[in-house]
C-alpha cells in the first residue's frame, strides 16, 4: 500500500469531503495561501478558492463562535485551531455553545462542525504551545473527541468527524505530521467508538492514545525482548470510548497500563484506568497503572522537557514491574 504522511492524510480527507459536500468550508488563521504553519492545508485554497478556505484574523473565540452559527444554519465548518493550547480561548463557544445547543434546543438545532487542532510536547515550544488538552473537552457532554495515532487514523477519523452531525474535536500530534503510514487509495472511514487492537498480547494491556501509541508499540517491542507479551490498544476516540475492547483486553491479560500525553492528574489516564479498575476488577492481577505527562507546565529547556513525557523505556519499565508483581 502507498505510504503518505499524516499531513497529506489530513489534506486528502478534507479535500475529498469538500469535493463531496459543498456545504463544507474551512476557517482559521493562515489556512489559505500559507496552508497553516504546518503546511497541512497546502493546495486546498487553490482547489476550493478563498470562499471555502477562509483566512481569519487572530480571533479564535470569534471564528469559533462564527463556526457554531454557521453550523446551526446549514453550513458544515471545519475550524483550524493552530495550536491545541488555544483551546482555552475558544472554550466558551465550544463548550457553552456548540456542545449544548442540540440538547438545549430539545434536538431541534444541530451543530455539525469539526475543530481540528493538535497536541504534543518535545518541540521546544514551551508551556503555551505544547499542551495536550484533550481531557478538558472530553469532560464536556455534547462533544466527541478523536485522537488519531497515524496517517491512517487521521484520514479515516477526520472523514468520519466531518460527516458527524455533532461538534467533534480532533487532535493531531504535531510531531507526527511528517510521519508516513500506509493509507489506502480507496475511500474509507473509521467509525467512532471502536478501538483498534494494534498488537495482541497475553501478559499486559497497554492502552495508548495519539502520540503515545508509537511509544507503547516500541515499549511492547522492548517488553517482548524480556519475554513479556503486551497487547497494545488505541481507543482512537475517547468520546465515545470503546470500553468493551479495553476492558475485555484487561480481563484477558489481567494487567493494564494506560498511557496518554495529557497531564496525568485529572486527565485521560484517570478515566480509562478507573473504568478498567471497575469493570475488570475481578480479573486484575495487579493495579492498573497510569502514565501521563508530568503535572508541570511544559518547560522550554530540552534538558527538562524530555523528562515530562512518557517514553518507551518508562512504559516498558512500569509494565515489567507490573508483570513481575513489583507493584
Amino acid at each position: 500500500m502507498r505510504q503518505i504522511t499524516l499531513s497529506q492524510a489530513v489534506n486528502e480527507a478534507i479535500a475529498e469531503e469538500m469535493r463531496r459536500d459543498p456545504k463544507i468550508f474551512l476557517i482559521g488563521e493562515d489556512v489559505a495561501e500559507a496552508g497553516t504553519p504546518f503546511k497541512v492545508l497546502s493546495g486546498l485554497v487553490e482547489e476550493f478558492g478563498t470562499e471555502r478556505v477562509i483566512d481569519t484574523p487572530i480571533s479564535e473565540p470569534g471564528f469559533m463562535g462564527m463556526a457554531v452559527g454557521a453550523a446551526m444554519t446549514g453550513s458544515r465548518p471545519i475550524v483550524d485551531l493552530m495550536f491545541g493550547d488555544f483551546l482555552f480561548l475558544v472554550m466558551d463557544q465550544l463548550c457553552n455553545q456548540a456542545a449544548k445547543t442540540h440538547y438545549m434546543s430539545g434536538g431541534k438545532l444541530k451543530v455539525p462542525l469539526v475543530l481540528r487542532t493538535n497536541l504534543g510536547a518535545t518541540r521546544r515550544s514551551a508551556a503555551q504551545h505544547s499542551q495536550s488538552l484533550h481531557a478538558l473537552v472530553a469532560h464536556i457532554p455534547g462533544l466527541k473527541v478523536a485522537l488519531p495515532s497515524s496517517a491512517y487514523e487521521a484520514k479515516g477519523l477526520l472523514k468520519t468527524a466531518i460527516r458527524d452531525d455533532n461538534p467533534v474535536v480532533i487532535f493531531e500530534d504535531k510531531l507526527m505530521y511528517n510521519d508516513k503510514a500506509p493509507v489506502p487509495e480507496e475511500e474509507y472511514l473509521l467509525p467512532f467508538g471502536q478501538a483498534a487492537v494494534l498488537r495482541e498480547g497475553r501478559d499486559v494491556t497497554l492502552v495508548a492514545t495519539s502520540s503515545m501509541v508509537q511509544v507503547c508499540q516500541k515499549a511492547a517491542e522492548l517488553l517482548e525482548t524480556q519475554g513479556i507479551s503486551a497487547e497494545v490498544i488505541d481507543p482512537r476516540t475517547i468520546v465515545p470510548l470503546d470500553e468493551d475492547t479495553i476492558v475485555g483486553s484487561a480481563k484477558k491479560t489481567g494487567r493494564a497500563v494506560v498511557v496518554d500525553e495529557g497531564h496525568q492528574s485529572y486527565g485521560v489516564t484517570a478515566e480509562i484506568a478507573a473504568r478498567i479498575a471497575d469493570k475488570a476488577f475481578y480479573h486484575l492481577d495487579a493495579p492498573v497503572q497510569r502514565i501521563g505527562a508530568m503535572d508541570v507546565p511544559v518547560p522550554f529547556s530540552p534538558a527538562l522537557e524530555d523528562l515530562t513525557v512518557p517514553t518507551p523505556e518508562t512504559v516498558a519499565e512500569r509494565a515489567q514491574q507490573l508483570c513481575k508483581g513489583e507493584i
Partner: protein, 339 residues
Amino acid sequence: MAAKSATKAKTASQKSKSNTEAYLRMYRQMVRIRAFEDNANQLYLSAKMPGLTHMYSGQEAVAVGICEALEDTDYITSTHRGHGHCVAKGAEFRQMFCELLGKEEGYCRGKGGSMHIADQSHGNLGANAIVGGSTGIATGAALSAKYLKTGAVAVCFFGDGATAQGLLYEAMNMASLWKLPVIYACENNGYSEYTKTDEIAAGSLTERAKGFGMEAFTVDGQDVLAVNELTQELVARCRKGEGPFFVELQTYRYHGHHVGDINRTYYRSKEEEAEWKDKRDPIVNFGTWLTGQKIVTADDLAAIDAEVKADAKAAVDYALEAKYPDASEVTMHVYAEAS
C-alpha cells in the same frame, strides 16, 4: 417619533396610512410581548415557574420594529432577556409557556427554559445565557447565508452590558472585513444588572462600531416605526451586500434585572422608572399615534388587547396542565443521530 440616526428615514407622520395592516401587526406583537411577560411574571410570583426569568417589558418596540422587517428565513440570535425577540420573530404562546415551565411541548421540550428558548422554525437561533455569547453565532449565521447564497440576513440582539465582551469586536471585525449581512442590534436599556451603562462603557458604542469600519446608527428604541423603518433600510442594504451595520436602540426595562429584583432603588430611582413608563411607553405611544392618525379607533386597539390577553391566559392554563418530558428524555439529544 423620529429616528435620531444619521439615516434619512422619513418620520412616521410623513408616512401614508396605507400600511394599516403592518401597523396593526406591530401593535399586536408589542401587546403580545407585554401580555406574555405579565403572565410570566405572575407565574414567577405565584411560584409556578421554575428558576428565574428576565422581563422584556418596556423594550417591545425594539424586538417588534426589527423583526417585522425580517422574513422567517432571516435569523436572529437572542439573549437572556429573550421572550420579546422570540414572540416578535413569530413564536406561539403555547410552546413558549410550555418551555418556561419545563414541559415537553415547549419549543425545546423543556430542556432549554427561558434562557435558552429557541424557535428554529422562525429563524430564532436561541436565547443565550452567556452575555455576548451569541455575537459570534449571529455573525456565523450571516457568513453561512453569504456562503450558501440564501439571501438571509442575521440580526444579533444584545444589551449594552454585552458590549463589554471582546467577542463582539472580534465578530464585528470579521463581519466588516467580509461584508456580512448582519445587523448588530444593541438594546441599550441603561443598565446591565445593577449597574448603569456609563459606568461600564467608555467612549461611545456607535463610535466603536465605526472604528471597526461599520456604519452605525442610534435610534429611539421606544418608537416602533422609527426602528422598523431603519431596519427595513438596513436589511435591504444587507441583502445587497452593503452590510454589516450597528444600531444602538435606546430603551428601558420596566422590571428589575430579573423577576426577583424587586427592591432596586439603590441603583435606579422610582422617578426614572415612572418617567419612562408614563411618557415613553412604546405601546401607549404607538396606540395614541394610530388613533391620532385615525388609522384605527381606540376600540379597535382595546379589542386587540383583550384578545391577546385571552390568548395568553389560555396558553398559560394549557402549559400549566401540560406534561413534563419523560424521564427517558434526560439522555436524549446529547448527540444528534446520524441523519
